[in-house]
Symmetry: C2
Subunit: 450 residues, 2 copies
């Protein structure tokens, strides 16, 4: 049996490795269009922050190890350009321009996602850089090493933009962030996003929301980002305005797309075409709260989906429950986390959403070093179910969110969650964990349920 | 209606306050035999660690506030000595020796727990101190302030003993710990308890397990703890060998006892006697894993039970799901946490327990500052259910355990838990959180379930 994988990052290489472990005589071919495989994309901002670290540190397992130790035919510099689902053949072009063609028995599409670049003049100027692939990270690091970069403008204010903002500040670079929408992190309530904004202010980051980018133009040896009623000059411009799934190749082959324009898959990661699977950032997933399809491109679910595909093609039936959209990021001394639906998402999904925001403490009453923790908790008034949680604080937020994530997987009610036996010791939280205080307060606003 | 509460700490005062909020015209009387109410007992080691902090900092709400702001008839220095369940009357003796007697409509017994003192000669010598009540903490602090205490022997090696060990070390006191059993923290696998022991060694704490204490005797101005094949001399001896529920008063009144000699209560905190409730360290509870009664005296469940009693007597029906036995403590730079059953407890409860121990990292591949995290996970081979988790590490352990705690409340299988969408960002963990790695590894040793 020949297992062909398009894309050699998280989902693709997870699938390849696991398939090999489970079926030693399987023929496995991976086509990766870049020269990089199996790296920690999420680690790039932290690597960029440190001039002494090599970007190659982020490679989890070098290509040669997959080839030599796992007998995986890993072909980098190979771009697949067509999938013939009738004849079960993929074809494409190798780095030197040579074309290739291979028959498959089972196919995994793991083509990932690409940055969305705003369609403005100057977006293709040198010094305007996105951050998605390891090549992007390498390019940014090279520029930072070669030139005196004192000012950077970041277009976008999402996770990656904010992480890059911290990374560049660590290198004593002045950072300005700009975006068209007028709300920072619109999925959080304003009481929480104000905490994020205050942290950016404390670190002298320029935050310019509500400014549409009109063009980017070269000015002397710098770049000028021209917006409505604003113009920012920088030595480098980083574009972090989100990503889109790389699903065109699949769509052209006749494979159905699902949520967010990603490849539609079932709980077994199967597409609508026999023997064709999709996993990772290019594929959609079920949301454990809504049971509907969603597209949330994050690392854990890519790895998990890769494993599940390997299971399913090697004979072990694995179906995935879905994602809760749990995410966390660090912004200077702040931890920001979420799981489940935001209040807006809950309303859009048709829930009778009720939310509460509470401010609690990271450690016990009278324990030194305590800081504030803000929690937004969202429940469904009709069924009493917990729908989502957003949290911001200086400590203990990143892992605290997981309790709510597990509750979402269990379809727990807010009432039941409020009764969970969470850990307590004075250095780590109040007797009533901030999550429990949020649940207790939310319950007061909801009809009594159990 | 007259609501009488015996005991003015966590459970008692939580019940009093909540009952007042929910029923403004309720007559509420609290009898507390000591002079202290509503303090954070768990905060005592941290308070003792700092000579500059007053022990009174641990009082969450002073007695006068309950009296003046909440119209609660809070009588300190009042020891209840008898409960007449026929006539619904409690009686006792006040501080000055005067006796009192009061009729109740609803009674809450919240008498807490008391330290178990080993029955050895010298246990009552001055300088041999337990740590349970605020008075105990005050006594220890007074001795530390008045005398040059250079050496302390702690009898016992549980949570409180270990927290005290850190607290005294912070005051440059040499600490030795001694206990009869030969295993440190016997509920954890040896791979994890070795990490705890190594931390104690690093901090030059003498750990003498497997030594039965024969007597304590005064030697010059010091105390000598004489054990089998060992003799330790100290300026102070702290006894932290566990606690027992204060249930004698209830038992004498004809109220049935349950698990661990604690007062037996149902999910509504009712005893076997009409209109008599019990809550906190003196009462038992259901365990969410076994559904059987258990006695695990911890702060959160005491507060929660107090609230539930207030609900139930003021007309809002509240039943408690039970406890998972989630607990955490800090030992120098180490965080130690558990939830659910230990492997031994699981076997004793009749489960076909399978466990795994894994070592993972606290942060992502290549992220600076990562340290080891050890996880033991225990599952039931018959049903596939998660039964318990024990964790040790330098960061992220205290809150990580909560994900497993919520899973226990949901009766999740290890397979389902392994699919939960936990938060990932490089500063906070690997892509596969240590808990997920543990679940994935445990699954390999269990029959396939979902």
């Amino acid at each position: 049996m020949h297992f062909v994988i398009i894309g050699g990052d998280a989902a693709g290489m997870s699938a390849a490795s696991r398939a090999r472990r489970q079926m030693p005589d399987l023929q496995i071919t991976v086509f990766e269009k870049t020269s990089d495989v199996s790296y920690s994309a999420c680690g790039m901002p932290y690597n960029i922050a440190d001039p002494k670290r090599d970007i190659a540190d982020l490679v989890v397992r070098p290509a040669q190890v997959f080839r030599d130790k796992q007998n995986i035919n890993l072909l980098t510099g190979h771009e697949v350009r067509g999938i013939d689902i009738e004849n079960k053949v993929v074809s494409g072009t190798a780095a030197g321009g040579k074309s290739f063609e291979t028959a498959y028995d089972k196919l995994l599409i793991a083509t990932g996602a690409s940055p969305i670049l705003p369609a403005v003049p100057g977006i293709d100027l040198p010094g305007v850089l996105a951050l998605k692939s390891l090549a992007d990270g390498r390019k940014i690091k090279t520029v930072l090493a070669q030139r005196a970069v004192k000012d950077v403008v970041i277009i976008g204010m999402g996770y990656i933009a904010l992480e890059m903002c911290e990374a560049l500040s660590a290198r004593d670079i002045r950072v300005s962030m700009v975006k068209p929408r007028s709300r920072l992190l619109p999925w959080m309530p304003s009481q929480l996003s104000q905490v994020v904004r205050a942290t950016l202010d404390d670190h002298h980051v320029g935050v310019y929301d509500g400014h549409t980018i009109e063009k980017i133009e070269p000015v002397n040896h710098q770049l000028r980002v021209v917006c409505t009623e604003l113009s920012l000059t920088a030595d480098m411009v980083i574009v972090a305005t989100g990503v889109r799934p790389n699903s065109t190749l699949a769509a052209r082959a006749g494979i159905s797309l699902g949520a967010g324009g990603a490849i539609g898959v079932d709980a077994h990661l199967k597409t609508n075409i026999a023997d064709v699977y999709a996993a990772g950032d290019c594929a959609d997933a079920f949301h454990v709260v809504t049971d509907r399809k969603t597209w949330i491109p994050l690392a854990l679910r890519a790895n998990r989906a890769g494993w599940a595909v390997a299971d399913n093609i090697t004979g072990k039936q694995t179906s995935l429950q879905g994602v809760a959209g749990t995410a966390v990021f660090k912004l200077f001394e702040l931890e920001v986390a979420r799981t489940g639906l935001s209040e807006t998402e809950a309303r859009e999904a048709g829930y009778d959403a009720q939310s509460i925001v509470i401010k609690s403490r990271s450690r016990a009453h009278a324990h030194p070093g305590a800081s504030n923790v803000w929690v937004q908790m969202i429940g469904d008034k009709e069924t009493g179910r917990l729908l989502g949680t957003v949290m911001v604080g200086h400590e203990g937020v990143a892992h605290r969110i997981n309790a709510a994530a597990v509750a979402l997987h269990s379809r727990m009610s807010v009432a039941r969650f409020s009764q969970t036996d969470l850990a307590y010791a004075p250095p780590f939280g109040p007797v009533w964990d901030p999550m429990l205080t949020a649940a207790n307060q939310l319950l007061k606003k909801m009809p009594q349920t159990t």
